[in-house]
Amino acid sequence: MIRLEDLTKEYDVLPTAGKPGQVLATDRLNLEIGEREIFGLVGPNGAGKTTTLKMVCGLLVPTAGRVTVNGIDVERQPEEAQKHIGYLADFFALYDDLKVWEYLDYFAHAYKMEEAAIPARIDFAISKMGLEPKRDSFIAGLSRGMKQRLGIARAVLHDPPVLVLDEPASGLDPKARHELKEFLRELNRAGKTIFITSHVLADLEEMCTSLAILEKGRLVRVGKIEHVMRSDSPGRRVRVKLAMASFPLADWLGARPDVSTVVPEGNFASAIFAFAGGDAELAELVANLVAAGAPVCGVEEVSETLEQIFSRLSSGEIM
């Protein structure tokens, strides 16, 4: 559906002390996103996420490489490719002097939708984004969140098979964010491919079917979400809780050869650690811990969150 081949974008910034003036925003990216994927792109600020998305939409010309959407070369046939794309930018403005329905009507016509289908489609987008009460309001009077909803409504208005969304949850309240997730899942079930970036990694973890982590323009991890969450994991992570902090838990755990990376929590009444053994070895560890006098009140396996994986894999350096 979306294919990036050796996609490279090099640009200039004014040189400052210790920093080069020439930056590789994306460095020979190769990626293929299949139909019906919700593909998340994660990376620190300046990693090249927005640049990548803009090149997918044909808004930026790559220095080298190419992008195809539905088999159409975006650089050679931009209008044909853009027919298949709905795009939402991270920072955007709307036309303040238009009303909500006028704004959507403009884009419906600009996307050359069938005239007869336009009113129903505008109604659908307005209702899906919860904008009914604001239908006849001027955009200038909308809140930040409402404007974000209108931006999303515009992106999905012409029913494109591919949605390219740069930080779509930005400015939304928790309820609206939840509704947005549900809406994107619904669109995905209806067959849409969604290419999305977000700094709310928990949302991406919950929603995406595949994921890539981008760092300084290069992919450091890419694959199905389960694979990315599992791969390169330092081992199973276990949390042990004590009833009271009277036992030197961290020291005791740190002395064992099958335990590593002990992180005490709270008032030293619990700790998370990486454990190299299997279930039987874990049972033995707990038994020894109890035998050593620790008032153990809970043991649970902790899976690494996307945020933790991201923090571990990414140096977080801003380019």
């Binding site: 640009y11 990216l29 293929e32 994927e37 220095t63 795009y87 238009l98 403009y106 996307y111 991890r221």
Partner: protein, 526 residues
């Protein structure tokens, strides 16, 4: 998609033509019309012909409409693309299915929609003036067509500027536009060397006074004062033509050229804007030269006319064309300059051939070919039309042409090199350095009296070849070696800038593929 269902036009109309605003504009126009009409009717002297005030009223209304359309409309178009870019709304327009042509037309007619409405609101007043003043209906119609098409040309030009100008330069761009429009309002400029009347749409204010379509027996230059030249004949390659169709043809053709630049680039990534292809740029200059050669007052070179204070010598004529083409080719060269993004793309697409010596000499080949081609055409016309008694040496004329061509190439290769340096706004800085260079050398050479001596003139041409415009047999004799050295100097400096350009290209070349990009264990998904 017809123009009235153009989404961009409808958007602009909806945004700008709310009832409140429309009523305000209509009310202001009505009050102005009534007050000015009343004042004109009551200021008529007893000796004035009946209906005189009506004609004056019509001219005031038409003048107001012209100012509104030309200045107001052009400023609206100047903001049309630039403001969208500043607001971050332009990318959303670029990803729609609107073709560049539809988007350009929507902006061309949509951005100044309030101005068009104000012009319409003033039409009743104009009609009253025309009827009372006894204006010829076809002439009034023609005046409005001239005003409309002339305004569209100015608006199309503003769209080009709007597309190109950068953040923080809006006020400057508006000032330049106003100066251009006002300087164009002068009716006397073109008539000094060309047999063509005033080209500015403000001429429509004078047109309504005309009561005949008959051609004047005079050429624009002979007719003298602007207000009496209406109905006159422009002369194109010896053919007498009415000024109105000439104006309309020029407006339509130049609107076409401007819109070509807009539609070629409007939906592109701004970092790879290219106003025209090299061939289109050359085509535009050939077209402009064709018009200049056609409208030039060739008669004055053969037999001086009664009102011509001094007949033009062939070298003067060549100097005029060389001077105009120097500016035009400088602009063409600017259009063809490549920026760092474009060079990087070429280097990655074409490999080593994008950084060889031919690439390093860009845009010299096009400039040289164009200047020499058009310069030779001018020399041919001069040789054909000149008086046999006048001084004209083809070899010297060819030298003059060659030196000007190399001068343009030298400066454009300098600008091409500086455009690849990593400084803020390199082209602007390049211009500033050029202005400082030319100002300093001119002051220095004038102080040293170099312009008064033949060898001194030739010496100044080493640095700034402007003295070549005054080069005739008299200045040439005895200073030939210096002039040839001046020409060699241009070649040497141009070669130096080409070398520096090549170094920049090599700097921008991608690093060897020895360091492959980090491959992920799973490069594809789905």
């Amino acid at each position: 998609m017809d123009i009235f269902s153009n989404p961009e036009l409808i958007r602009n109309t909806r945004a700008q033509m709310r009832w409140g605003r429309m009523i305000s504009v209509a009310a202001i126009c009505a009050v102005l019309s009534l007050v000015v009409g009343y004042a004109m009717a009551h200021s008529q002297s007893p000796g004035d012909p009946p209906g005189r005030w009506g004609m004056q009223f019509l001219q005031i209304v038409l003048g107001t409409q012209a100012v509104a359309l030309l200045l107001g409309g052009s400023i609206a178009c100047l903001n049309a693309v630039h403001r969208e870019k500043e607001m971050n709304t332009f990318d959303f327009q670029r990803v729609t299915r609107l073709t560049p042509w539809e988007l350009a037309l929507g902006k061309l007619f949509g951005a100044p929609v309030v101005v068009y409405f104000a012009v319409l609101c003033l039409m009743p007043a104009a009609l009253v003036g025309a009827v009372v003043g006894g204006a010829r209906p076809t002439m009034v119609g023609a005046a409005y067509v001239v005003l409309l098409l002339g305004s569209i040309t100015a608006h199309a030009f503003s769209l080009v500027i709007s597309m190109l100008h950068q953040r923080g330069t809006n006020t400057g761009a508006i000032l330049v536009l106003i100066i251009l429009l006002l300087s164009g309002a002068s009716a006397s400029g073109p008539r000094m060397v060309f047999d063509v009347g005033a080209l500015n749409p403000f001429i429509s204010v004078q047109m309504v006074e005309q009561d005949t379509w008959q051609l004047s027996p005079y050429t624009p230059e002979q007719a003298g004062l602007p207000e009496t030249h209406l109905g006159l004949a422009d002369v194109f390659f010896g053919q007498r033509l009415h000024h109105v169709p000439v104006l309309l043809f020029l407006y339509v053709s130049f609107s076409g050229w401007f819109l070509l630049a807009v539609t070629r680039n409007l939906k592109r990534d701004p970092s790879v804007y290219e106003l025209y292809t090299p061939n289109q740029s050359l085509g535009l200059l050939v077209y402009v030269n064709f018009l200049m050669l056609g409208f030039f007052k060739w008669g004055s070179t053969a037999e001086p006319m009664a009102r011509q204070p001094m007949p033009m010598q062939p070298y003067d004529v060549q100097a005029i064309f060389l001077g105009i083409n120097l500016s035009l080719f400088f602009l063409l060269g600017m259009v063809l300059l490549r920026n760092r993004d474009q060079i990087r793309r070429r280097l990655r697409e074409l490999g080593d051939s994008a950084s060889n010596w031919l690439a390093a000499s860009w845009p010299a080949p096009y400039l040289l070919a164009g200047i020499l081609l058009l310069g030779l055409a001018t020399m041919g016309m001069i040789s054909w039309k000149r008086s046999p008694k006048s001084e004209w040496d083809l070899a010297l004329a060819a030298f003059r042409l060659g030196l000007v061509a190399l001068w343009v190439v030298r400066d454009l290769l300098y600008l091409q090199w500086i455009n690849l340096t990593r400084i803020r706004r390199p082209l602007t800085m390049g211009f500033v350095y050029l202005i400082v260079f030319y100002s300093s050398t001119a002051i220095l050479f004038a102080t040293l009296d170099l312009y008064d001596k033949p060898r001194g003139q030739a010496f100044t041409a080493f640095f700034s070849p402007a003295a070549v415009f005054g080069l005739t047999g008299k200045e040439w004799t005895g200073a030939e070696v210096f002039w040839w050295l001046a020409m060699f100097c241009q070649v040497a400096v141009a070669a130096a800038f080409a070398w520096m350009h090549r170094q920049k290209q090599l700097e921008l070349a991608p690093a060897p593929a020895a360091a492959p990009a980090a491959e992920s264990p799973l490069p594809t998904v789905g």
